[in-house]
Structures are given as structure tokens and as C-alpha cells.
């Protein structure tokens, strides 16, 4: 299954081939999880949301027409799931101690602490942005989608996405006060 592209995997899923949906999950689980994590700011909710995204995708495979890429479609489901979640649940960001980081080998302990504190503050500030601004910022800066792709995900115009991005960055600076982003 790993050699199939996304479109072929979707067809294999529809045909009921065992392992096809597993392959989709394996291919996209990291990007979906990171999107959710950046949206909600904690591992537990991000994990639950990721599962929910794939379950929704599985249910909706019959209606997926391939007008956008599978990744974009999954992002759309993910953003909707996250928006639903944040509308009913106050964001909960993790303590510094709860987080581990990728590469701490080349930095001193003090540098590491500063970086972690700064990261935590930025993450907390992102979770306070209005939902559409938050989605736009996360998709642009961290998931590295183009404005056109974000417009497709959010169902907005490209102009609206750029405006949201502009205001998201401005609001983030206000939330963080004098501190540099």
C-alpha cells in the first residue's frame, strides 16, 4: 500500500481493500496531529482530535470528489474539528514540564529554558487568537500552506485569508506585549 499515491489509496479504501485506510492514516497522521496540537495547545486534546479527524475522513470518503488534495481535505476536516472543540472548551496549554523537545544537544541549559518559556508563551498566545485568525496563522506559518490552499481549507477568499494572517500577526504581537515574537 505504501507505494500507492493518495488518489489510489482512496480508491482502494472505497473498494474495501484491507490496509488502505491504515496507509492513509500512517501517511498523514503527523501533519494532522501537529495541526491539532498547534490549535489546542495540548497533547491530550490533539490526540483525541486527530482520531476524530480520521474517523470523520473515513465516514466522508464516499463524498470526497478529489477537487482538492487529500492533505487539504484532511486539514479542512481538522480545522473544523478544532474550531468545534475550541468553541466548547477553553484552551488548555501544557506546562513546560509536560513538554519534550526535539534537539537540545547544541544549546546550554539556560538557552533551553529560555527557548521553552518563549515557545510556551507564543503557543498560549496563539490559542487566544480568534478562531479563523488562529487557523490561518497555524496553516500558514507551521503547516506551510499557501494562501490559496488555506482559502480552500477555510472556505474563504484568498484576500480574506491574507487579511486574517495580517491581523493574526498584529494581535499576536499585542498579546505578547513588549516581548519579541
Amino acid at each position: 500500500m505504501a507505494e500507492l499515491d493518495d488518489a489510489e489509496l482512496i480508491e482502494a479504501c472505497r473498494a474495501g481493500r484491507p490496509g488502505a485506510f491504515d496507509a492513509i492514516v500512517e501517511r498523514h497522521r503527523r501533519s494532522v496531529y501537529l495541526l491539532c496540537y498547534r490549535f489546542v495547545g495540548n497533547h491530550e486534546d490533539a490526540s483525541d482530535l486527530s482520531q476524530d479527524v480520521f474517523l470523520r475522513a473515513y465516514r466522508g470518503l464516499g463524498g470526497f470528489r478529489g477537487g482538492s488534495s487529500l492533505a487539504t481535505w484532511l486539514y479542512r476536516i481538522g480545522v473544523n474539528a478544532c474550531l468545534n472543540r475550541v468553541s466548547v472548551k477553553k484552551p488548555l496549554t501544557e506546562d513546560l514540564d509536560a513538554r519534550q523537545h526535539i534537539d537540545t544537544f547544541h544549546e546550554s541549559p539556560s538557552e533551553r529554558v529560555l527557548r521553552e518559556e518563549r515557545g510556551a508563551r507564543v503557543r498560549a498566545a496563539i490559542t487566544q487568537l480568534p478562531p479563523k485568525q488562529r487557523a490561518t496563522l497555524v496553516l500558514r506559518m507551521y503547516q506551510e500552506l499557501s494562501h490559496e490552499e488555506i482559502a480552500d481549507v477555510l472556505g474563504s477568499s484568498v484576500g480574506a485569508v491574507k487579511a486574517n494572517f495580517f491581523h493574526a500577526l498584529g494581535n499576536l504581537r499585542k498579546l505578547l506585549g513588549d516581548e519579541r515574537l
Binding site: 474495501g16 496540537y37 507551521y142
Partner: protein, 217 residues
């Protein structure tokens, strides 16, 4: 110099294009004359550069085991859900056509139990002549008498007793807007033979005399 009072400021979308290099600054002569827009563009670039720096939003990278765990969770959820693109088991089970018979069955059992306890004989005018009224059957002599229960102490049971003794089954179904179908549990209850009814009565009495059925600890 600030000439912004004489011309419109650049729109956010255009500033984003300029900050990301999609559009060259030379194509926006307004920038050369407007301190406000120049400052907005500089702040936008600084914010984007800061966010792109390592540490601005380091995300915890879960352990490799987490990914397998997530895949397993999804696999289980999908297996429970059924085929792709189909309604979930919840949707299927919450369909009214499946709920109605379950509710009717539960209601029928409650009514039979209440009728068995009632000292009054039911009016049988609306009950089909081929069906014996349940409460009119003679209790088995081997059974111990039931303790007084319910109707006088519990308004809900009293209401159910009234329904059970003053309405026939058909009237009751009409009264409660319950729709049944041939072969359903409610039909089966009303068409029991005398022997079957006696056995049902015996089982219900046995069940209701258990301490747990009376709410005793």
C-alpha cells in the same frame, strides 16, 4: 515625510504580499511616502521572521510509540464504525423505527406487571374477545401473597395502574400514540394463550418479589 493623509493606506492583503516578497516594493510607490505603511510592513516582516525562528512554537514531538497507538485507535474506531462513507452504528441504532419497538416492549412489560398487582378487574370492553384480560386471571394458589406495593405511595405507579385497569390495550396504544406492527412484542403479549399468560405472570411475580425489585438494599 508622510503623505498618508493624501492617499489610501495599503490594504492588509497587499502588505502580506509585500512582506512575503510576492510583490516587489517598487510596485508600491505609496510606501516611499507613508511612514505608517512602512512601519506596518516592517512589523509584519519582523513578526513573520520571529515566528519562523526555532523555539517560537516548538511542538512536542510524541514518541514513536504514540504514532502506532494513534493508528490503532483510529483502526478500532473505524472497525466499530463500519464501511467507509456509511452511517455510523449510532445513526443506525438511533433510527426511530428501531427505538419504537424497544419502547413498546418495555412499556408492555411494565403494564403487565402493574396489572398483575392491581386488585381491580380491568374493563375489558375494548379488549378483543379472544384475549383474556391479564389482571383477571386467578393467581396461582402456590404463590405467596404480594406485599402492598406502590400505587398509593407512588403517583407514577398510580397513573400506570389507572391506565392498566381502565383502558384496553388498543385504547392505550391510541392514547399513547404508540405504533406497533404485526408480529411485534406488544402484539405477542396481547395474544398469549392462557397457559403462556399464567407462566408470564408467575415469572413476573417471582421477579417482583425479589428484594432488588422492591428497591431494598
Amino acid at each position: 515625510m508622510n503623505g498618508s493623509s493624501h492617499m489610501a493606506h495599503l490594504k492588509p492583503a497587499r502588505l502580506v504580499d509585500l512582506a512575503e516578497g510576492v510583490e516587489a516594493e517598487q510596485s508600491a510607490p505609496h510606501l516611499a511616502e507613508c511612514d505608517t505603511c512602512r512601519r506596518a510592513l516592517a512589523e509584519l516582516r519582523a513578526a513573520m521572521a520571529d515566528l519562523a525562528r526555532p523555539g517560537s512554537d516548538d511542538v512536542q514531538e510524541p514518541s514513536p510509540l504514540f504514532w502506532d497507538h494513534l493508528s490503532a485507535r483510529v483502526r478500532d474506531a473505524v472497525a466499530e464504525d463500519g464501511k467507509p462513507g456509511h452511517a455510523s452504528w449510532r445513526d443506525r441504532w438511533l433510527r426511530p423505527r428501531l427505538i419504537a419497538p424497544v419502547l413498546v416492549s418495555a412499556l408492555a412489560l411494565v403494564l403487565v406487571a402493574v396489572a398483575v398487582r392491581s386488585p381491580k378487574a380491568p374493563t375489558a370492553k375494548s379488549i378483543p374477545s379472544t384475549v383474556l384480560p391479564i389482571a383477571a386471571t386467578t393467581p396461582l394458589p402456590s404463590l405467596p401473597p404480594l406485599e402492598p406495593l406502590g400505587a398509593s405511595d407512588d403517583p407514577a405507579l398510580g397513573l400506570m395502574e389507572d391506565y392498566g385497569t381502565t383502558l384496553g390495550w388498543d385504547d392505550m396504544r391510541k392514547e399513547m400514540a404508540v405504533v406497533s406492527h404485526a408480529g411485534g412484542t406488544d402484539d405477542a403479549v396481547t395474544t398469549l394463550s392462557a397457559e403462556e399468560r399464567q407462566e408470564l405472570q408467575r415469572l413476573l411475580e417471582e421477579e417482583m418479589t425479589q428484594p432488588s425489585a422492591l428497591g431494598a438494599s
